[in-house]
């Protein structure tokens, strides 16, 4: 595979163009990895706006038409809609856990079965998030089951 790096002017935006015959799984992994590593999300807290790295986000939750992103300890509000987040981070470590939650699989410590086919995920920071029965199949495919 040939890799070409071009110098660009200071006013131009950084850009990565992938030229390939087939967009196979290796390229998709590369794209997902780039998305997880480069695209930060803006979040506001107490009137201050911060840029948050996706790898630091534990989960997103929609509450009363507002979307919050939860890090290890901090909670920020984001302007992005849950469906936009789901689309933007499709194929990455994020997956839909319920109608109102998108969860980062790399922040899950363990799973415990709950009633009616639901599962409770204990996160690395000790928080517990419920995974709905209808989204368990998404999680299983993420885990290669």
């Amino acid at each position: 595979m040939k890799i070409t790096i071009e110098d660009i002017g200071p006013e131009e935006e950084d850009e990565i163009i992938i030229r390939c015959k087939n967009l196979d799984s290796h390229f998709l992994e590369l794209i997902y990895s780039l998305k997880m590593n480069t695209r930060k999300i803006s979040g506001s807290k107490d009137g201050n706006i911060s840029m948050i790295h996706p790898k630091d986000i534990y989960y997103f939750e929609a509450v009363d038409n507002k979307v919050f992103l939860y890090c290890s300890k901090e909670v920020y509000e984001t302007k992005m809609k849950l469906y936009e987040i789901e689309k933007e981070y499709e194929g990455t470590d994020f997956f839909r856990a319920s109608k109102s939650v998108i969860l980062n699989i790399s922040k899950i410590k363990s799973f415990a079965s709950a009633f009616n086919g639901r599962f409770e995920a204990t996160l690395l920071n000790g928080e517990k998030v419920m995974i709905s029965r209808q989204y368990v199949s998404v999680l299983k495919s993420k885990l290669g089951l």
Binding site: K99, K140, L143
Partner: protein, 142 residues
């Protein structure tokens, strides 16, 4: 498709349960009876009818209270089906209180076994997912 899979799984569980109960029941109350083709169809028919109870459960999320209410309603539905079917095809005499009590106890037992079996399947999945999660975090699953 998911719902059909779930119904087929319940069908297999319920048919096994009914066969087991029928075998025990016939040993106790009708020791000289022989199994007819009609009875086999009746058992399969009852299993199918019981499976319709799965539609009590919605595709979406259910709260803990909703879950318990639906579980109770599902149990009542199963009782209604089995007792009604039993009376219709004269599996037991409804005036014979002993036969009725044994049938009620059998329904409870089968319902309990099926519920526990489903919970055990979830537990097994929980174990598998935790194992895969460990692999995922160590970079073996991508």
């Amino acid at each position: 498709m998911k719902k059909i899979k779930q119904i087929l799984l319940t069908f297999s569980f319920v048919t096994t349960g009914i066969l087991l109960v029928a075998a025990l029941y016939m040993c106790i109350f009708w020791p000289g009876a022989s199994v007819t083709v009609k009875l086999l169809w009746q058992i399969l028919g009852l299993s199918a009818l019981c499976c319709l109870g799965n539609f009590i459960w919605p595709e979406g999320e259910v709260s803990k209270r909703g879950f318990l209410v639906r579980l109770f309603l599902h149990y009542i539905y199963i009782n209604f089906c089995v007792l009604g079917w039993g009376i219709k095809f004269q599996w037991f005499l409804w005036k014979n209180i002993n036969q009725l009590l044994v049938m009620c106890a059998a329904i409870f037992l089968v319902f309990l076994i099926v519920t526990v079996a489903l919970a055990a399947m979830d537990k097994r999945l929980e174990k598998e997912m935790n194992e895969r999660l460990l692999q995922f975090r160590s970079g073996e699953v991508e």
